[in-house]
Amino acid sequence: MDLRRSLGFGSVNRASASYAVSSPGEPCLITLGDDPSPSLLILQSESLAVEYAAQCGGVEALTRPGGVHPAVAPVVLWVLLVAEQLAVHPPGMLVAILGASAVAVALCARRSRPLASVLVVLAVVTVQAPLGVSTKDTSLPVLPVFWAIFLAFSALHGRQRLVGLAAVVVALTSGMLLDGGHVDLANLEHSALFAVALCLPAAITGTYVDSRHRYALALEEGARAREAQRRAETATAVAEERLRIARELHDVIAHGVGLMGVQAGAVRRRLRADQKDLASALLTVEETGRAAITELGHAVGVLRDPAGEMAPQPTLAQLRALVEAARESGQQVSLTLRGPHEDIPVGVGVTAYRIVQELLTNARKHARGNHVAVTVARGCEDLTIEALNATPSAGRGRRGPSPGGHGLIGIRERVATYGGSVEITNADNTFAVTARLPITR
């Protein structure tokens, strides 16, 4: 689905978009990078945001949920744990405070080195019980272990996850068996239930966060792949269009040169015998022209389609026939010609014809059944070609013509060849393309 059209955005020539996801299900922010008037757009879901960003031409994930500095939460935890220790004053308080500090430091690195931070946290917890820290009076072992289990499921995968879970088991065992340094088997049963109650929510939460993260990555990956394919296809289409333009222009040139040669030969025949130098000059014109045509023939041959063409390049004179053909195939077309057409250079005429041809094809593909109004106006120093058509109502499921779409690449390339301009607007249910070709004599 082309989001830009369904959201009523006009042409976005070149933009790199980045998106930020605040939290699942909540609106996302998109910023358009190179757009002259950068706009913020709020979409309802992350998947739409990724898709939109891809269609705009670039996918860069800004931040993940929160966007908060990784040290903030560990510091908060440290404050909580230390405050609790100081308030409760359990045995092994100093060790506990040291341990809490170590845990907080380790957790600061949880984003960049998840396995290491998990192992350090669990090591601290494991070691604390034999060193005399009570596991019953305070929440010191509980919160770090909870966090470690969460990390094991959200940030670790495969073998690393197994290692982390093994460390969890060790830490829990140590905590459950020992209490303040003494083995306490009676504690075990009580603790086992607690341990399960501890592990399950952490594991579930961790798994959920992990899967969301993977989903976002997959979306990005898919969007990037589609974007890359789109770029490749566009590049190919552009290259093909340029070949087509080159072939047509070479053809037009060859016939112009041919004409020059015929005229030169005709004049040479009329010269008198005593005008040998004039005759010689004209002969040079003819021979150079023949050589040029040979080379142009090679160029056209290299560039041409396998199906040879038996008609000269069509120009404005053939526009009426083109429109008639479109009408016969069921399209509603109106053609308006303004201004003198006689002195328009052949190349410009061919370009104008091809532009109209492409516009009609585009309208047939995307707005079938709607009326197309084509205007070709000869201004003081340029030729303006315009096509207007009503866009089909949204929800018909058709992919709208995007400015970078293949249908309009040809127009851009041809206009660029002549240093002209093209403007595409899509507003009020009307799709309008205006191409301007300068005419210089």
Partner: protein
């Protein structure tokens, strides 16, 4: 008694005005030739030729609209028009050459040939011979040599005399009448008469068609240079 002096009537068909003007200048610079009609499209060419009945028509192969030069050639010759057609083209490509020959054209020239060659083409074709670009002749022979003979052409029904068969072989090799005369120790006039008989017996329009038929029927195979 004064001899009737028949000037060759020439028609010019090309979509570019200035090209037609140039050809007109060239043709009318030659005594003995006169331009009787011009046309800028295939459809116009058909009406013009039937109205002016030229001896020779210079026909651009590429024209806008539904009829190109080859279409017009086929239609004109199909309806028995006596005009002889010289196809003109900008690029020297084989694609159009064989199509032109198949359509029955008597000649095939580059538009930018020197005016002298254009005039020679008109004179030659008006006299009943065919003319091809010299480089093209060898290609035609090579190409038709490559084509497999059409099944069902019984060359015996041609009832050619031994001498005529000799001459046909030489024509298929690209020899001119002068060269054939020399190699067979005949006079050119005799050779011309023989060639005319062969044309009739094979139902060929001109020398070029003769070459085509010789190869297509398998009468001559590639490598059979005489």
């Amino acid at each position: 008694m004064t001899a009737e002096w028949h000037r060759t009537h020439v028609a010019i068909v090309d979509d570019q005005d200035m090209v037609r003007a140039g050809f007109r200048m060239i043709v009318e610079s030659e005594p003995g030739l006169v331009v009787v009609g011009e046309a800028a499209s295939g459809a116009d060419a058909l009406t013009m030729v039937s109205r002016t009945r030229p001896d020779v028509t210079l026909m651009d192969i590429r024209m806008p609209g539904e009829l190109n030069g080859l279409d017009v050639t086929r239609q004109l010759l199909g309806t028995g028009s006596p005009t002889r057609i010289v196809i003109l083209t900008t690029f020297d490509t084989d694609d159009f050459l064989y199509a032109a020959l198949d359509a029955g054209a008597s000649g095939f020239l580059l538009k930018n040939s020197p005016p002298e060659r254009l005039l020679e083409a008109i004179r030659t074709v008006a006299a009943g011979d065919a003319l091809l670009e010299p480089t093209v002749t060898t290609r035609v022979i090579a190409e038709f040599g490559r084509r497999r003979p059409l099944a069902g052409t019984d060359t015996d029904t041609w009832t050619l005399t031994e001498r005529e068969r000799d001459i046909l072989r030489r024509v298929a090799s690209g020899c001119s009448n002068a060269e054939i005369a020399r190699s067979l120790f005949l006079s050119q006039a005799t050779v011309k008469t023989h060639v005319a008989h062969i044309l009739t017996k094979l139902g060929a329009r001109d020398r070029v068609q003769l070459v085509v038929k010789a190869y297509e029927s398998g009468f001559v195979r590639p490598g059979h240079e005489q």
